[in-house]
Symmetry: C2
Amino acid sequence: MRATIYDVAERAKVSIATVSRVLNGRAKVTDETRARVMEAVEALNYRPSPVARGLAMRATSVLGLFHQNFQSIYAAQVISGAESEAAAAGYALLAIQIEGKEWSELMRIPGRADGVIVTASPDNEAFLQALAQAGTPTVLLGHARQDLKMDGVVPDNRQGTIAALEHLIAHGRSKIAHIAGPESSTNAVEREQSYRDTMAQHGLPVPDGYLQHGEFNFVTGTTAMERLLALPEIPDAVFCANDMMAMGAMQAIAAADLRVPDDIAVIGFDGLEAGEYMTPPLTTVFQPIEDIGREAVRLLLWRIENREAPVREEIIRTQLIVRGSCGASAEHENL
Amino acid sequence: MRATIYDVAERAKVSIATVSRVLNGRAKVTDETRARVMEAVEALNYRPSPVARGLAMRATSVLGLFHQNFQSIYAAQVISGAESEAAAAGYALLAIQIEGKEWSELMRIPGRADGVIVTASPDNEAFLQALAQAGTPTVLLGHARQDLKMDGVVPDNRQGTIAALEHLIAHGRSKIAHIAGPESSTNAVEREQSYRDTMAQHGLPVPDGYLQHGEFNFVTGTTAMERLLALPEIPDAVFCANDMMAMGAMQAIAAADLRVPDDIAVIGFDGLEAGEYMTPPLTTVFQPIEDIGREAVRLLLWRIENREAPVREEIIRTQLIVRGSCGASAEHENL
DNA sequence: TTGTCTCACGGAAACGATTCTGCTGGTGTT
DNA sequence: AACACCAGCAGAATCGTTTCCGTGAGACAA
């Protein structure tokens, strides 16, 4: 079996309290005793039990990350950023997919973690309520919630959407459609609303059918675009709520023997690496997804230390990256 | 604070032992006492502490998943499959990126988990040795290791590679290049070796430069393809060690004003959804990545129950999916 | 009635850490 | 020489469970 603190104490001829002190450096210990303890630790290959420590300290050094499901490059990047940041602070990361689980099932996690990060979504409301009631420190991937005392990390969807649309408008497009994401995504909802607002503000119409919905993946981008292409008046630009759908849309446009950007301009949202290598390269609203994961962890760790501090919301800036697919890249300008 | 088992016992007027019995159903309890206990549990919103339980039972109901890094759709799918399967069995999943960490740092995880899944790689050797020495139940994403008593889950790289190459050969291609993955991936190494073997077996040459290496992502697929296109004799087919690089290669081919599959046939490996929607659709060796994650968890849970059983290796079958990019799709045949 | 057996349940000892409290012996002051 | 003081360490309580062992009460046979 694994060596325990008792084994170490016995070998070093000290009490377990002293072993603990040496390992945590929380109190004065003679150099000589320290050396004896360290020797025993090495010899026995001792590693403190995180579980026992967790019980004694009422803290697990574990964070939980909840997201609808993990089968996307978006989720992968959030996890990657969050895990790096957590590990750097000595925390481990539990990854949990929300989809297909009852909230009561999800509530078995808080007992294992010191805090959790949860993607905001109307679907999660019951779960969030339970978390709030349990007093689990929680950071939302989405807007902060004063009522639940939960902090938030959220990309600037509105600003990003406005940048994309105004860029299209400035370059002469006016029949601009939108392929939105699912209603379960607060980001998608916000981008959709910003699309409506911005179009209205510029006096541009949103004809029937110009607002299509997808599921943030390639194939629903394609099918949504196909619906747009079946409209009586085909749009001259499409703003997509994420890059995967934008790539799917480009595929549908090519399949219809139309050209991007000449016939239809396309702009995505995310800034995925793959978009850069499309033909033409995808213009996109970049959001640093890994940084969002990192920032969520930072905020959560801060919250764990400052339980009573007022709710915080971190807004992550987005940035329009102009490439070929919107018909206004540097190369195009030079033609 | 959270209610403990003592609070429940007090309210139900029973001992904590009885509360434990009721909750775990391990012994006979009167219906009447059971009801009293359950009432108290509800009223106090009691949830047993997984940490205390873990200490008492010497089991955490947590599994660890280690992978080089999580910034790929491949990693996302492994995590997704593993998490689903683990959750179904009542386990939670810790996700840990190996890259950038010392093995001693990684060894802080085993104490938190009942077992771990690790992607096999020469880079991880020291870590694997430490895991074996610690006696942590371990399943490799790769070949089983008799010497370390670790089970393995591995796709049939050889069979998949042979299927892809023989398909190309059967359709008249003979100047077949290979874009391999990094040496840190045992899957990549196996595919590369199988490529050499199969080419040799068919008496086909592998000229200088026909073997290029990438890093399993889009951009290195593009650059590797560019190197192939700069060769004195351009290949008439490229077999890529994964789909992302294959898509990158197609991009490079298009940029050189050559046509897929007419000038150069392309086959990938993975079966990613996105490949289906390329132009032309990507022919690929499909491997069920999520199932690999699932199977690894199943194997690990079995191993935890059967510590002394002989080492097992699960081989996951791959399947060639013929689409447009190899020049032999059904549509093409019908021309 | 007495003894035996079984069924429900209570008591208490783990599990492996942290940490509060208090003891001991050496140093410094007067 | 007497005392206070402090540094360094040991003892023991504690965290919240599970589970072994034991006990009292009731059922049943003798």
